[in-house]
Amino acid sequence: MSGVCVVLEQKEGAIGRIGWEALAAGQWLATKLGLPVSAAVLGADVGAIAASVASKAVSKVTRIEHPLLAQYTPDGYSLALEQFIRQDSPGYLVFPHTYQVRDFVPAIAARFGEVLISDVVAIADGPVFTRQLLQGRLQGNYLHKGSGPCFVSVQAGAFRADTVQAGAGEVAGFAPAIEAPQIRTRPEPPFRGSEQTVDLGSAQFIVSVGRGIKEAENLSIVQELAKTLGAELAASRPICDNGWLPMERQVGSSGQTVAPRLYLAVGISGAIQHLVGMKGSQCIVAINKDSEAPIFEVADYGIVGDLFEVVPALIEAMKAAKA
C-alpha cells in the first residue's frame, strides 16, 4: 500500500475551488510523507477534467468512468471507488469535504474497517490531522491507527488552491463493474430553493445577524445598522430556518459565500458552517457577548458585549462620523 490519492468531484464539468484545495492538501501530505501523489475523478465522462488535473504535479490521474456514474448516487459512487481502491491500494485518500463526500465516503471507509477523518483543517508531521470540535470552540488532533487506507477530507479554505504545484501526470482509465439494480436510490435533478433576488456575493458591506438577536422583533436594530452603513442584511442559518429572514440571505455552506470589504457579524457565534461562507471577507467585525465565541478567531475587530447596547451605540457613532 503506498501513495496519496486525491479523489476529486466534478461540478458543472469543472473541479471546484475546494477540489483544488484538496489537491493542494494531498500534495502537501505526500511531500511530508515522501510519497507519490495521484488523483482520481468519478463520472460518466471525465476526460476534460482529468486533463486539467493532469497538468498538475501528480503521478497519474485515473478516470473512473461508467454510464451509471453520470448522476451521483451513494451506491454507484461507493461501488466504483471501492473497486478502484482495492485495485490501486493507496495508503491515503484525500477528499474535499463537500456534501457529496459526506454522503458516501464514510460508507466506503467502513467497508475497509476504516473511519473517515472528516473536515480536517490542518495536517502536521506524523501525520497528525487537526479538526474542529464543539462548533469550532476547540480543536482535536487525530491519528490514524488502522491497518487499511487512511481516509481524510479537508475543509473548504483550509488549504490554498493557488499552492497546487504544476507538473505533468499520465491519464489512466478504470472501468468499475456496476449493475443498475445495485443503485437503490433515485435522484431527481437539482433545483433552486427560491428565486435568488439578493446577490450577497457582490455586496461591499454586509451586516449579518445570528441567534444572539433572540427574537424576530429585534431585527429592526440590525436593519437600521445595515441601512446606516449602506449594507446588505444577511444571517446565519438559524435565523433563516426560523423564517425571520428569507433563505436567500443566508451565509454559509448551505447558503451564499461572500467576501465583502466589511462583514459585521452581530450575535453570531461562528459555527464552522457559517465561517466557511464569510472568512474570505476583507475586514471582519464581531459583536458577541461570549468572548470565547469562535467568530473572534476570524475577526479583525471585536466588541465583547450585549448587542442590544452595542448596535445602537454603533449606529450613533456611524451617523456622527458621516455628519
Binding site: D75, K145, A299
Partner: protein, 256 residues
C-alpha cells in the same frame, strides 16, 4: 411504520467548555447537556411520520447514565420506547465502533426507517448515520429536510450546497440523516412528561452488543484553536467601543 431515531446527548450550545487535566476531552463537571440539535429534528420528523401513518417511534442512544435524561425528553415528546446503550468510555470508540453498537441494537428491531441527525454538535464527525446505513445494508440519503412516505418507500428533499435542493426516492427500509430546520420542533407537554415515566427504556452494554473499542482513528488531544487573524478587542463601554470601532474601520482598515 416502525421508526428508529438515533439521538445523542451533547454539551449545551452555550456551555463554557474547558479542557480537562489530561488534555483529551473537556471537563464535564459543570456542563449542562442537551439533545443534539439535528437529532431533535430527526425525532420531530419521526414523530410526524408516525402521526400520519401510525406505527412506533423508538429512540436509541449510546452514552453514559446522564444520557438517560435525553431519552426521557424524547419519550416526553412522543416517542414510544427507548434503547440506551450505556457506556462510560464511548470516547475510546471511533465513529465505526459506535455505529457498530447502534447497528447491533437496531438490527433485531427490523425497522422500516432509521433516522439520525446530520452530525453531532460536539465531535461533528457527521458520519454515524452513513456508516450505520452501510452496516445495516440499508439505502440512505443525507442532509434531508423533508420526508414523505410513499407506497413502497420514501420521497425525500435533500439539501445541496449554495441554496440548491434535490428530491430523491428510496425503497423501504431506508436510513436518512436529517438536517436542522426542516420542521418546527414541538415541546413536551405536561401529559407527555408524565407518560414518559412509564415508558420502557431497555438498557444494553457495549459488551452485550459485541462491541470493543480498538479504534482505527484516535483523538490524541484537544487544544484551543489557533487564531486565524489577530483580533483587536475594543474595550470600554458600548459607546466607547463603538466610537473606537468606527475610527479603526475608517483610518486603520480603511473600509469605510
Amino acid at each position: 411504520m416502525k421508526i428508529i431515531v438515533a439521538i445523542k446527548q451533547v454539551p449545551e450550545r452555550d456551555a463554557q467548555v474547558r479542557i480537562d487535566a489530561a488534555g483529551k476531552w473537556i471537563d464535564e463537571a459543570d456542563i449542562q447537556f442537551a439533545m443534539n440539535e439535528s437529532d431533535a429534528f430527526a425525532l420531530e420528523e419521526g414523530l410526524r411520520l408516525k402521526e400520519q401513518h401510525g406505527g412506533e417511534v423508538i429512540v436509541i442512544t449510546a452514552g453514559p447514565e446522564r444520557a438517560g435524561q435525553t431519552i426521557r425528553e424524547a419519550l416526553a415528546k412522543g416517542a414510544d420506547r427507548g434503547i440506551h446503550i450505556e457506556s462510560n468510555d464511548l470516547g475510546s470508540f471511533d465513529a465505526l465502533g459506535v455505529a457498530r453498537l447502534l447497528a447491533a441494537a437496531i438490527q433485531p428491531e427490523g425497522p422500516d426507517l432509521v433516522l439520525t441527525g446530520l452530525q453531532s454538535d460536539d465531535l461533528g464527525l457527521g458520519q454515524t448515520g452513513v456508516i450505520l446505513a452501510e452496516l445495516l445494508g440499508l439505502p440512505h440519503a443525507s442532509l434531508i429536510l423533508h420526508v414523505e412516505a410513499t407506497e413502497s418507500g420514501f420521497k425525500v428533499k435533500r439539501e445541496l450546497e449554495e441554496g440548491w435542493f434535490q428530491n430523491i426516492e428510496l425503497p423501504r427500509p431506508a436510513l436518512l440523516t436529517i438536517q436542522s430546520g426542516g420542521n418546527k420542533l414541538r415541546y413536551a407537554t405536561l401529559m407527555g412528561i408524565k407518560k414518559a415515566k412509564t415508558k420502557e427504556v431497555r438498557k444494553a452494554t457495549a459488551a452485550e452488543l459485541g462491541g470493543d473499542a480498538a479504534p482505527v482513528v484516535v483523538l490524541e488531544g484537544i487544544a484551543l484553536p489557533q487564531k486565524q487573524r489577530s483580533t483587536q478587542i475594543l474595550p470600554g463601554s458600548a459607546k466607547d467601543a463603538a466610537a473606537a470601532l468606527v475610527e479603526k474601520l475608517k483610518f486603520e482598515a480603511r473600509v469605510l
